[in-house]
Amino acid sequence: MDPRAVEDGHGQGVARRAVPRHSAIWSPEVIEDIQVKAELGHYRIRGFSTLRKRLPGFDDLTFIPSSLSRMPLEGYREKCVTETRLGTRFAKNPIVLSTPIAITGMSYGALSRNAKVALGTAATRLGISTTTGDGGMLPAEREASRQLVYQVLPSRYGFDPQHLRSANAVEICVGQGAKPGTGGVLLGEKVSAEIAAIRDLPPGVDQRSPVRHPDWIGPDDLIIKVEELREATDWQVPIYCKIGTTRVPYDVKLAAKAGVDVIVLDGMEAASGASPDILFDHTAIPLMAGLVEAVEALEDIGLLGEVQLIAAGGIRSGVDVAKALALGADACYIGTAALIALNCNKPLYLEDYHALGVEPGACQQCHTGRCPVGITTQDPELMQRLEVEAAAERVVNFVNAMTMELQIIARACGKADVHDLEPEDLRALTLEAALITGIPLAGTDFNLKQIFRGLARGDGR
């Protein structure tokens, strides 16, 4: 639309726009952010995950299934194995998943009791594992979950050797993709009397978890810590180490050297129930990039396959899982996707979304404890809105759908086991994905990453 000349109060013609033009630097979001912080006096905290519009990721890859040069498998008759064993390196009793998908660590405290029990119930029905979080092991969660991974976090809230012994795997949490290098946050609204008692905290405090483990610091200490946890669990169960995708090549090698069975890579797409807003968008690297680095690191030290990889952060579908597996992951964790299957962001109880000043689909209010659908709350009334049985069934349905999507892709690529998916089954749709992954750009047949590495080394290889 053309600008219109309008008379102003001084009788001079000035250009006014019928359509407002926003500055890219001082966008409405930036202006709002500054004005909110000018009132608040400290950084902003919110839930959910990064709100970046675009990140290099699995959407930049496409599969090239079989045709003449390769034979696909029939969807109806031919088997496509999904069973996944984790912890085969040192543990006597590895975790056995019916499908390479498991529920990631989320605390009782961040999530409601009903949400934790629904996830455990769903995981048991599916034959997969679920994970505790930065709030100890809820007995009802243990009861509901046949395979439960027990996190060892810097805070050690509610840490109990009895819980440790009852766990089916142990996960040493070093960092998370949503907010690597920082500790957890649970605002006072959610620190109910029960949550406070479990965590040995005063009720109602704005709880900040430490980020460094209290009793070990560097990778040399971690070797001893891993031995301690093995001794405490009689070398029965797998030990995982969870890291955010930051300094991946070094961290993966050090975790492998420390003697863990499984490394969980949590990408920058990962979510959190409460985190300083800036961390979601400005820390860690995308999962796809981290995964490629992790696979290369394990290859480098000859431990690829022996030390296993779980890819986490922003996994939304069976296709994402297929791509992660093709790049070298052994399994994927889902967190936000499982919560969305529970009911997160569902257009129910609209008045409660509006009371929080948001719409379903863009809620991000997990930190307030006022979750309209009863998932990220400790309010007994809100929690009742999440009916455990029905919620568990939705997660079962969703993960089954993911598994079928994964099998469709694997069969189309001629794979009788989903773990046989490989980089060769993929093509990149963007230059950056081609460069990050080493997968040829669609329509080309060369590895850009290798070429650029050669150029960087100066040997042209």
Partner: protein, 244 residues
């Protein structure tokens, strides 16, 4: 009971056992300790611990275990019931996350002594290093000598007694709990504040010192949380700016 022969061990008398660590792996030592406690052996002596890590991890039940020498990291960690006496020095994380029981170190201990303990009593008769009782969640930590910087960092509950001097940032960001210091405090941590001692404080201190045979007269100081970090507040920015 107690007379059976085992690799590396010999029975002393009914209900007691002597285990030589020298020829055994850490796995074998811990497995044997668990078996002995489960069988009702009440007195176990470990010889030649040689500063080894992870000795006596996650032990349960009743019994007295004596280490005749030094231990490495995580000695008697996650203890649930037994009484452990270490006749030498210890590495990092001694008795970390103890639930119940008693650990007495005759010598000195390294960093993060008694980290995150939730119950029981940990006594270090010598000195402790930095971050003693970090994230302590219950129980009692008693240090006969000095303790390093960030002692009681993010303490949540329980009682800590340091008879000697403490380093900088004592009780930094503590939520609750009480720290008593008999010597000099180099610096109070963020939001750690001094409170006057009551008669009940002195009774507690006298009783614990007498119980563990720690001699001396002390000029006790009592440190608790100022509670200004309990909730985010821009009015307390002076406190928060260091806590973030």
């Amino acid at each position: 009971m107690g007379f059976q022969t085992r690799a590396g061990g010999s029975a002393l008398m009914a209900g007691s056992f002597r285990l030589d660590c020298a020829a055994l792996s850490t796995r074998e030592i811990n497995q044997t300790l668990r078996q002995l406690l489960a069988e009702g052996v009440r007195d176990i002596v470990l010889t030649n611990p040689a500063g080894r890590h992870n000795l006596g991890v996650a032990l349960r039940g009743e019994g007295r275990i004596t280490l005749e020498g030094d231990a490495g990291y995580y000695a008697a960690a996650m203890l649930e019931g037994p009484s452990v006496r270490i006749l030498g020095n210890c590495g990092w994380g001694t008795a970390e996350n103890m639930m119940r029981g008693e650990v007495v170190v005759e010598g000195s201990a390294g960093n993060a002594t008694g980290a995150t303990i939730r119950g029981g009593t940990l006594v270090v008769k010598g000195h402790a290093s930095s971050r003693t009782g970090i994230s302590q969640k219950g129980g009692l930590i008693l240090v006969g000598g000095n303790s390093g910087y960030m002692t009681g960092f993010m303490m949540q509950k329980g009682v800590m007694v340091i008879c000697g001097d403490v380093g900088e940032a004592l009780g930094d960001s503590m939520y609750e709990g009480t720290i008593y210091v008999g010597g000099r405090i180099a610096e109070l941590g963020n939001d750690a504040v001094l409170r006057d001692l009551q008669e009940s404080d002195l009774e507690l201190l006298d009783a614990q010192l007498a119980r563990y045979g720690i001699p001396g007269r002390f000029d006790w100081k009592k440190v608790v949380s100022g509670r200004r970090l309990w909730n985010f507040s821009k009015k307390e920015m002076g406190v928060w700016i260091h806590a973030l």
